[in-house]
């Protein structure tokens, strides 16, 4: 009996967005990363096009992140004291691109200066040819000061500047526009808030092929279902033709998973939680894979083993096979 495979017809598609610029394109990157372009829900190759594979970024910091889990500090070792060395190590660990997170304060407890932020970004750009995303510490005023300086010092590189939220989007978008960078538009787990921020950004005349959206997701066990469903709804809206949702999605399962007690703490936890390291890696990996199924285009991770596993999952999901033929 012949079986008809039911296919949805989608009028819309996700925008295609390129991060990083090579010397010919006005930057210094050895390669660029292109994401988006989907014309179907995640990995349904039988129905539409998924022209670009989701990519994995590794998060590094401008200085040793003392509040990170000891498991992460141990794994990365000495390089956590030097962003340039860390960027190289991240590249070797399989990162498609790098996310540099700037700290709120320097080693002496003073607020990070724009000069120090620029120096850290320059060091990373020199050490690795991968495209770069630079995230501020997450306090609107400090983010503005640091990111504007970084954007101006790296004009033409097509960096992704984050975090661009309702509080500070004007400053971040203006500097991204003036210096040829991209922005990561972050909103807290809500379809309408995400849409609204994208509208505000586009109302400033910012080119739509330079917006990534970050719907915030939470970790496994800490509300991931909200992020999961917000992402599915955003992607469905994009495919249905809603222009203000047609942006590739960036998610940060590394940040989310590694702040949970399950990943962060190894002692005085229930025996039913099992081995600490493996549990932590599962926490990060399963958070990431679940978000991948909901439409993530860029996944920012922290542990090299999670990177390996998530990349293997992407390889599998991007292999085009006939629905009716087993691999």
């Amino acid at each position: 009996m012949p079986l008809e495979i039911p296919k949805d017809k989608w009028p819309g598609s996700v925008r295609t967005i390129t991060i990083g610029a090579t010397p010919e394109e006005g930057g210094t990157r050895a390669c660029t990363v292109t994401v988006g372009g989907e014309t179907t829900m995640p990995f349904l190759h039988f129905e539409g096009e998924i022209p670009h594979r989701p990519v994995v970024a590794i998060e590094i910091r401008d200085r040793r992140p003392d509040d990170w889990s000891p498991l992460l500090l141990e794994t990365w070792g000495e390089v956590v004291n030097d962003p340039a060395a860390w960027a190289k190590a991240a590249e070797e660990a399989g990162a498609d691109l790098i996310q540099l997170s700037l700290s709120l304060t320097d080693g002496d407890g003073e607020t990070t200066t724009p000069e120090a932020a620029v120096a850290a970004v320059r060091a990373v750009l020199q050490a690795s040819g991968l495209p770069l995303m630079v995230f501020g510490p997450g306090q609107a005023e400090v983010d503005n000061q640091l990111l504007v300086a970084v954007a101006e010092a790296t004009a033409g590189e097509r960096l992704v500047l984050g975090i661009c939220e309702d509080k500070n989007y004007r400053t971040i978008v203006a500097t991204a526009m003036a210096n040829g960078h991209l922005v990561n538009a972050r909103t807290p787990m809500d379809v309408n808030l995400a849409k609204q921020l994208n509208i505000l950004i586009s109302d400033m005349g910012f080119p739509l092929d330079r917006i990534l959206m970050d719907p915030t997701t939470a970790a496994l066990g800490y509300g991931i279902e909200y992020g999961f469903s917000a992402m599915e709804r955003l992607r469905l809206a994009a495919l249905q033709g809603d222009a203000m949702t047609q942006f590739p999605m960036l998610v940060t399962p590394g940040f989310e998973a590694w702040k949970t007690k399950e990943a962060k703490v190894g002692e005085e936890v229930p025996a039913e939680w099992g081995d600490w390291l493996e549990r932590a890696v599962h926490w990060e990996t399963l958070t990431a894979v679940t978000l991948l199924e909901a439409g993530a285009d860029i996944l920012v991770l922290r542990h090299p083993e999670s990177v390996r596993r998530v990349k293997a999952a992407i390889d599998d999901l991007m292999t085009v096979r006939e629905v009716e033929a087993v691999a």
Binding site: F228, S229, E272, G274, E278, A327
Partner: protein, 447 residues
């Protein structure tokens, strides 16, 4: 899919006799379509029409229940492709596989350990659901001994695995009177397996390497009188199983395609590698499996999978909340601090567990933030200075504490000034962003 009024009308006698109490057959058909009246109100309906209407009323994905000694695992009856459209109803059952080529002692040990496995998550005790016993030996006696060994230690529902009807018959005999899931009928053995399923009134898993093959087999087996079936479409990688699971659910829900209107069984453990098994199992939870058979049993893998299952199957319309109020942790005195947080249950349990676990006394003020987490509630205006101050008064906090210190989550540091205005005689402190850092903060900053 339910029939329309016009489709139902075509099945009625079309005599407009009014015996049903409605003026015309069409009016009655419309009421039937709206489920406002029972078909039995028509005394003249044909047997054939009855059968067609009953069939159309049955759910597009059949509900299959595995029962044993008070335990119950249900799969099927799902109505949506995406959880936000309504909700996912029946959490997939996790079954641990044991093979009969292990010694009986090894089997008992493995089953006893996983049968007892319980992990607490936001106040709930999560457990696994049952065991899948596989005939690796091919020997009927060895198989039935292995099943008896499992039954001696656990009363949870079972899946019996063999393609050999003779071996399966012996296995079913070992648990006579029960109705375990029989795995599996295939193109070669389906008649004998269908007979066993009927004889034991047990559900039958059906295996084929293609969706067409599966649909052919389920129809043949249904014609033999077996109603409860479970599908194994053979794919063991992520990509193909995502595509096939999606196609199966779409055909069932959108086309009411009965031959594939059954729950799906997944075997992430066939991958062999524990890390890969966890990924395949997570994928099976998110994308439509009804039964999931696992091979690795390390708690560090079981715990995240059990949590993921809870998360994905949470009702999206009802955030899990706790009652707003003033909670006492570790028997606090009037000198101890007040910690403010929201009534989203995950937030509440994260905070309460940290403080309780650290043995630190505190008053936990759980505000009515409509079940949202701190950041989300703050963004939505449900966790601001005014609301916190209101709940301080509503729950009579000033009557309980002398030293008026209130700690707000670091994520909402921006509201500390407003809160000082709202609560003029209070000391407002900004705590850490994450619950996990609370004990250190309390020990170092709250002395």
């Amino acid at each position: 899919m339910a029939l329309t009024g016009i489709q139902i009308y075509k099945l009625l006698p079309k005599t407009n006799c009014k015996d049903c109490g409605f003026p015309t057959c069409l009016a009655f058909a419309m009421k039937l379509a709206a489920k406002q009246v029972e078909l039995s109100a028509c005394p003249h309906i044909s047997e054939e029409a009855k059968a067609v209407l009953a069939e159309s009323a049955s759910p597009p994905i059949r509900l299959v229940t595995l029962k044993a000694d008070g335990y119950e695992v249900k799969a099927g009856n799902e109505v949506v492709l995406f959880r936000h459209e309504k909700k996912f109803y029946h959490k997939p059952g996790f079954f641990i596989r044991v093979r009969d080529d292990a010694s009986l002692d090894q089997i008992r040990e493995r089953v006893a350990a996983t049968d007892a496995y319980t992990v607490n998550y936001v106040g709930m005790d999560l457990t696994l659901d049952g065991f899948a016993v596989e005939s690796a030996s091919g020997d009927p006696t060895t198989f039935s001994q292995a099943i008896s060994a499992v039954r001696a230690v656990s009363q949870r529902p079972l899946i019996l695995m063999s393609r050999d009807p003779g071996v399966m018959a012996a296995g079913l005999q070992a648990v006579n009177g029960e109705a375990p899931l029989i795995y599996a009928a295939d193109a070669d053995n389906w008649e004998a397996m269908a007979d066993l399923a009927k004889q034991h009134q047990a559900p039958l898993a059906v295996f084929a390497d293609s969706l067409e093959g599966l649909a052919d087999l389920t129809q043949k087996i249904k014609a033999k009188g077996v109603e409860d079936m479970v599908l194994d479409h053979g794919a063991r990688d992520l990509g193909t199983s995502l595509a096939r699971n999606t196609v199966i659910r779409r055909l069932a829900l959108k086309k009411t395609f009965r031959p594939l209107g059954y729950p799906i069984i997944a075997f992430p453990g066939d991958a062999g590698d524990a890390a890969w098994e966890a990924i395949l199992a997570a994928h099976a939870v998110a994308k439509y499996a009804g039964f999931i058979v696992l091979d690795h049993t390390a708690p560090e893998m079981l715990y995240p999978l059990l949590v993921l299952r809870e998360n994905i199957y949470t009702d999206p319309q009802k955030p899990i909340q706790v009652q707003p109020g003033l909670y006492e942790i570790n028997d606090p005195s009037p000198e101890d601090p007040v910690l403010a947080t929201t009534n989203f249950s995950i937030t509440y349990f994260s905070v309460a567990n940290e403080v309780e676990g650290a043995g630190l006394p505190a008053w936990l003020l759980v505000t009515d933030a409509e079940g949202m987490s701190v950041l989300t509630a703050w963004a939505a205006g449900k966790f601001d200075a005014e609301r916190i101050a209101k709940d301080v008064r509503r729950f009579h906090v000033p009557d309980k504490v002398h030293r008026k210190r209130i700690v707000i989550p670091g994520h909402v540091a921006v509201i500390s000034g407003e809160l000082e205005e709202e609560l003029p005689d209070w000391e407002v402190r900004v705590g850490p962003r994450e619950a996990v850092d609370l004990p250190t903060y309390m020990k170092e900053a709250l002395v």
